[in-house]
Symmetry: none
Subunit: 334 residues, 2 copies
Amino acid sequence: MAGVTERMLALLATLQSGHTFTGPELATRLGVSARTLRRDITRLRSYGYPVHTQPGPGGYYRLATGAALPPLTFDDDEAVATLLALAALAARTPTTDQTGPAGRPGAVRDAATRAYGTLDQLLPARLRPRLVALRASLEASAFAMPPVSAEHLARLGEAIAAQEVVTFGYTDAGRARTERRVEPYRQVHHLGQWYLLAWDAGREDWRTFRVDRMTDLRRTHRPYTPRELPATSALAYLREGLQRDRHPATLVIEAPAEAVLEVFAFDDVTVEPLGPDRTRLTVAVDSWHRLLLGLAFLDADFSVTTAPELAEPFGVFGARLLAAAGSGTSAAAP
Amino acid sequence: MAGVTERMLALLATLQSGHTFTGPELATRLGVSARTLRRDITRLRSYGYPVHTQPGPGGYYRLATGAALPPLTFDDDEAVATLLALAALAARTPTTDQTGPAGRPGAVRDAATRAYGTLDQLLPARLRPRLVALRASLEASAFAMPPVSAEHLARLGEAIAAQEVVTFGYTDAGRARTERRVEPYRQVHHLGQWYLLAWDAGREDWRTFRVDRMTDLRRTHRPYTPRELPATSALAYLREGLQRDRHPATLVIEAPAEAVLEVFAFDDVTVEPLGPDRTRLTVAVDSWHRLLLGLAFLDADFSVTTAPELAEPFGVFGARLLAAAGSGTSAAAP
DNA sequence: ACAGATGCGGCCAGGTTCCGGCCACATCTG
DNA sequence: CAGATGTGGCCGGAACCTGGCCGCATCTGT
């Protein structure tokens, strides 16, 4: 709590992200009580910033666009966060997928690597030693991901802002290539992937596309009239769509809900406590392997309530494990 | 003159023009004494604003915006990559853990949110519209992670650069809290977590610590003489054993060596072909879970030749899988 | 229709911060 | 060297900020 003004600037920077925040959330971030936050918001309004609010459940604070902000700079923490974010992004390794059309120029990962190296040139000199030291101390593990073109994401962003139809070639999971003509609405980040939510003019329906699977992305400069989104948020729609392709499964696990949640934190799951040591887990995974890993970590009994297709791989692999366990014990006496 | 904050914002707005102003002039504009103006300038500087001044006749105050920077600035792709990286980092949600004392100040996530909102102001005006459009088009899914302190990471980075012993309190997975005194070497990013690789002076051995589990991190200003790292990279060490005990194990897998190598590419393994469809795998894993995942993906029979300690978990988990597989088939008709 | 979540603003007591004035000093121009 | 201008320490009184508590308004979901 170092001064009102600093906090106000932090509040502005936070709201400028364009997201919505609840009161308690903002108060926590700024390290003040909810009451003081309300006062800060009032103050912000008195200075002319258009802060929209919504009471009731799902209430929020949001900064309307178009506000002329004071010049904002990075403080230490922001510089550190930026460096870390870039480090994590730069650590991505292109999947050993088919190399495709001569590598993708302007891959986000490469740009992140370059930015990671030169970030300190951009920032005030006083942050430099800190960043240099930090960068020298970091190491990041590779994380296989299909390469995404920064140019594509930027171009889509502009098309969305301009409400302009775009066209591209799309290679779906089955390797079938089609030409698309869509009205783009949102770009959604989910589990390391970037998706585009758009109205597909050819199919006359909402679709999500993986940005990394697009080629020949072109803006047409032809405007479209916005439609109402098919869900409260693009993310919600994306989730629904992804679940459709995947295998939703429901399991009952003999472990506390917190433990289950911790193990599956990375995934798209719903956790529902059934008792102190019993939890229902609903999960949509693209393969049963990831599920397996989580279950192994939990070290608890479980049963599959829906998703009979899991029975076979679970049975086969369980048998293999038992066989290996048997062969192991025969030789040794620790 | 209604409050400090408003005056500070007015001061910023005034200085933002890029012109120079004398002290008395600014003081008059803001309606305060020259003394107070100096204090305001000091405050601005403490927030990170580069306010240039010049004493003597013709002296001035001037805000050095990002204009006069070295030629090395961000290009389009780098700016886009930075924005995306921050978006992903800002999307993190603190785990419901909440053990800590009511919110950790300086959480990386909060800083990332602010930086995400602010980034366009730091970059050349040319890039700004592009970034604004891009940011408005993005949405990111929440990602539960324990909050990490930016301050801790930065401080550790500096201690590593200075080769300085640090002390901290550490709460391990079992919630036991201990005081540590270590020689820090590297910070490693792995699956969304930050780890510190250090020589634990008390334990006389190498250890890895999760940065989010540290409290009261302090630099001692006591230098240490560097030791040879226990592995070629900190990451390799981390992979070998996140916990202290690493169990080397040897397995024979009924699959081609290339397939095995691909699955275990990121781990520290030795692969030795025994035949066209038979491979010996030597692996040092901290826990059997990771091994399990690889084996599941391989979809091949295997046997454990050394490492009897694997027999029990494999047996237990195999039995659980079989039980679940049985229960699944019995109930489902669809 | 009701309960609960969420935002709003009044009131108050305590303490932190801010303010203006004064001064000695550093730095630079002419 | 003189004067203009920025710097920062010190001080006492005043202004402001903060957190807690309250009752109220608004909205969602059951």
